[in-house]
Symmetry: C2
Subunit: 337 residues, 2 copies
DNA sequence: CTGAAAGCGCTAACAA
DNA sequence: TTGTTAGCGCTTTCAG
């Protein structure tokens, strides 16, 4: 502890003066650079302690041309979408690796035109040294932005229209396939699916995985309804499916949210789950354990997704050229099918 | 659109030169300052467009001594605690007001000693102009940090040991009282409670609200067990309560998470909810709608909490002295008691 | 209204 | 191993 009420943060010059050395010497000591005698080094250290010196991050940033921070940007069209617990867990993953560095984390919710403009500004004014960009939609203007950004960009998930150079994604297609195969293996033959938004990479990939599995099994794959990834969308889609194919005996649903909506419709329709109709969801959200019956679903490693995005960005920032990463998903069986 | 591949961001000097004016004039135009002739003003504007000039945020920050960002810090002892959807919604609220400003949002998860040190560093190096600090525990070292920080600090929730000067809180005590009164009004007489962590302001306030209501009703208030705000804690506490008071007919549970755990125990014990035992939770998390039966609970305005924290911080930063705020909570009745 | 000049606090190239 | 000297890019007095 030093002075209780430091009027002003001491500057490097003051440290240098107090230690009786030049400013550059002080600077070297503080940055653990070589070419400083033991004696001076200690004098500076002492002065730093005495004065309670802390280097001014902004000044350093200006001199080194490095902001000292990275940004996690969530793109989308709904300002409330970040409330999805999914992102919170990504943040924890990201933080777990940033914590070991000196980099600060900025959060940019580019979920409105104003938000997107701000992100663009953030990047152009060089307030961040790198970007992690999540949840791109089909025609997302941010894709372009990312392409000619002057800092490294890693994508979380793959957008539909192009394959980013650097990304981390969950194996959505594989997971959907797994889920559907599980249904097939259980003897189900009339299998439908409720898809998520098909203008998102994840939504499309899950549909493809579903189709992959049915193709192999030689089953009909035309029982498809879109639920937009929303709970009420799931209800509506389930209603339509029941209408179109009263004899369906299983549904692969591209998100647990939608599955919850669908379960409600099934219950109301008097169908027993999983007796009459088997259901498999996707995401393994917390609620999935508390539905009736507990939901069989596909778990994706969200924490790892965040962690690997951050790792990849660090690699990029230090000049490496990491390979894209696809993280495995796995089936969590809750209600026996 | 301008040059496709700008080698380097243009500087203010380049703009000035191109416009044929002094750098100070250019600076004034860019900051909408007065004392610039119409002609020059337009010349500068044109130059800015032509060159695609964007001011360098770091340089500006150094000159103005303002970082241009604020930080939302979550303190605690569990690195995963941010995964609680609660925080995600706070973030959305905070963002909704920051979006209208030029301020960037930094996120600091001070949930480990390393994280706390980093937050401290962040503040000392002046990388942020203000702090929103959430979820302080009883002996949280960050309280002190906040006290003598050189930037404005607003608290989200009130810590136990001291009353911050500026805070936004939900009416936890009032909500708990409401919940308990609801139980009393339903004719319940043997009412227990499962508390959250009592070293947190919210945990303690909810216990007090419970006691308030029972005191008024003149009922016994000794049926208290601690569940630490965790699902398994709720199960354990419920088991103990059933043991201590097999005749209990209602439980006020300080979080929905714990309520979910408790419900499971009750079901296993063959107690009908709400027939034999009435339950009221707290927080109104998404899962609360999907329990069996749907959970009656206390909703707190999380989005508003974030929004008001941000507003208060802005007020503080502009020199005002806002009053603390307590946001109302309300009962959400799902399963008839 | 206008521009010159002096910083903001730190880093880094270059001589010594 | 040292210290001197320029910057980094922008803002802001202060004379004119």
């Amino acid at each position: 502890m030093t002075t209780e009420t430091p009027r002003r943060q001491p500057t490097l010059d003051e440290v240098a003066e107090r230690a009786g050395v030049s400013r550059s010497a002080a600077s070297r000591v503080i940055n653990n650079a070589p070419h400083v005698s033991r004696a001076k080094r200690e004098a500076v250290r002492r002065a730093v302690d005495d004065l309670g010196y802390v280097p001014n991050a902004t000044a350093r940033a200006l001199a080194t041309q490095q902001a000292g921070s990275v940004v996690l940007a969530i793109s989308g069209d709904d300002p409330g979408m970040f409330a999805d617990p999914f992102f919170a867990e990504v943040v924890v993953g990201v933080n777990s690796v940033l914590e070991e560095t000196e980099l600060e984390l900025m959060l940019s919710l580019a979920t409105s035109s104003r938000g997107q403009a701000r992100l663009e500004q953030l990047l152009r004014t060089r307030q961040a040294d790198g970007v992690m960009l999540m949840s791109l939609h089909g025609d997302d203007p941010l894709a372009a932005l990312a392409a000619n950004a002057s800092v490294p960009v890693v994508f979380g998930g793959r957008p539909l229209n192009f394959e980013p150079r650097y990304y981390v994604d969950a194996d959505n297609r594989g997971g959907a396939r797994l889920a559907t195969e599980h249904l097939v293996a259980a003897g189900r033959r009339r299998i439908a699916t409720i898809t998520g938004r098909l203008d998102e990479g994840a939504g499309m990939a899950r549909l493809q995985g579903f189709q992959d599995a049915l193709a192999v099994a030689g089953l009909d794959n035309t029982l498809v309804e879109n639920g937009e990834f929303r709970e009420d969308g799931g209800s509506i889609a389930m209603t339509k499916l029941l209408d179109r194919a009263p004899d369906l005996d299983a549904v692969f649903i591209a998100s647990d949210q939608m599955a919850i909506g669908a379960l409600r419709v099934l219950a109301r329709a008097g169908r027993d789950v999983p007796g009459d109709v088997s259901i498999v969801g996707f995401n393994d959200i917390t609620s999935a354990r508390h539905t009736e019956p507990p939901l069989t679903t596909v778990n994706q490693p969200i924490h790892a997704l965040g962690r690997e995005m951050a790792r990849m960005l660090l690699a990029l920032m230090s000049g490496d050229q990491p390979s894209p990463l696809i993280l495995p998903t796995q089936l969590v069986i809750r209600s026996s099918v």
